[in-house]
């Protein structure tokens, strides 16, 4: 047979404007899923400082710098508390946490939506439930900003 023409994937994504709700849901779910598993690895890495802490490893820090350390001036704390506190003290980390929350909330809500779909419930409303997930994610995220940002940076 004579040759034929393959338009390939690049052109495909050129059509993103024409994607439907279900497709966006799929893309977002994928994206958030990957973020979450990425975070899980990082999270365990950070928490691994607990091993050091349990073995008695400590560092000296300025208590004022760490939100989770009481007192003033140079203090000796365990490495776990220091690391977590150090991170929590950073504005950017808090911001990322809010992002993580958004990602997780969307993944959860859409995950619930997908579970419903798997059970064959409410298939007709699949697009509406996707929009609902998006909106709810937005609301929950905004609502939790105060809690997440408490006592940082400003």
């Amino acid at each position: 047979m004579s040759q034929s023409y393959n338009r390939g994937l690049i052109e495909d994504f050129g059509r993103w404007k024409e994607f439907s709700a279900g497709m966006w849901a799929w893309i977002f779910h994928k994206f958030t899923g990957w973020m979450l598993i990425g975070y899980l690895f990082t999270h365990i890495a950070v928490l691994s400082t607990a091993i050091g802490a349990a073995q008695g490893e400590t560092v000296e820090v300025f208590a004022e710098d760490l939100p989770n350390v009481e007192g003033t001036g140079l203090t000796e704390v365990d490495i776990y508390t220091a690391t977590l506190g150090g991170l929590e003290g950073l504005f950017i980390v808090r911001l990322l946490e809010v992002g993580l929350l958004a990602v997780a909330v969307f993944h959860i809500l859409n995950g619930l939506r997908l579970l419903m779909v798997d059970l064959g419930i409410g298939l007709e409303a699949q697009d509406k439930s996707f929009y609902a997930s998006l909106i709810l994610t937005g609301i929950i995220t905004v609502a939790s900003v105060p809690t997440f940002m408490m006592g940082v940076g400003f």
């Binding site: 994928k30 899923g33 990957w34 979450l36 598993i37 899980l40 690895f41 365990i44 928490l47 691994s48 607990a50 091993i51 802490a53 349990a54 073995q55 008695g56 939100p67 989770n68 350390v69 704390v77 365990d78 776990y80 508390t81 977590l84 506190g85 929590e88 003290g89 946490e97 929350l101 997780a104 959860i108 995950g111 619930l112 997908l114 579970l115 798997d118 939790s144 809690t147 997440f148 408490m150 006592g151 940082v152």
Partner: protein, 123 residues
């Protein structure tokens, strides 16, 4: 045509586990978030606090299960996503191996951390 399928790798088990872990994760993840951001603010977490929580056996077991479920769910999700994109043959086997090792590594490391936190080792 009929030969296109093999009795191997029915895939249904992984699919089902992905759903079951998801259902489990909803509950635990919500609890986890609530616990560590609203009840105890993340910024106020200290080793001592963690130790107290983790020495409760129920909480400890929940967290370990949470980890295992999360790891399986995440790793299997990633693997699935790649197969969906047409990953085939040797690369597919390699990816599966790498992901499995990473997953097992994650779980082992995580359990070690958990044990450390609960004070069951290094006392």
């Amino acid at each position: 045509m009929a030969e296109r399928y093999s009795s191997f790798a029915p895939g249904g088990t992984a699919w089902l586990l992905q759903r079951i872990t998801a259902a489990f994760l909803v509950v635990v993840l919500a609890f986890h978030f609530f616990q560590l951001h609203f009840v105890n603010h993340a910024a106020e977490v200290t080793f001592a606090g963690t130790e107290v929580r983790m020495s409760n056996l129920g909480y400890f077991l929940t967290m370990v299960l949470f980890l295992i479920a999360g790891a399986f769910h995440g790793i299997n999700g990633v693997y699935n996503a790649l197969v969906n994109q047409g990953l085939e043959g040797t690369p597919k086997k390699v990816v599966l191996a790498v992901l499995t090792i990473a997953g097992v590594g994650l779980v082992v490391q995580g359990i070690w951390v958990a044990l450390a936190m609960s004070g069951m080792i290094y006392q």
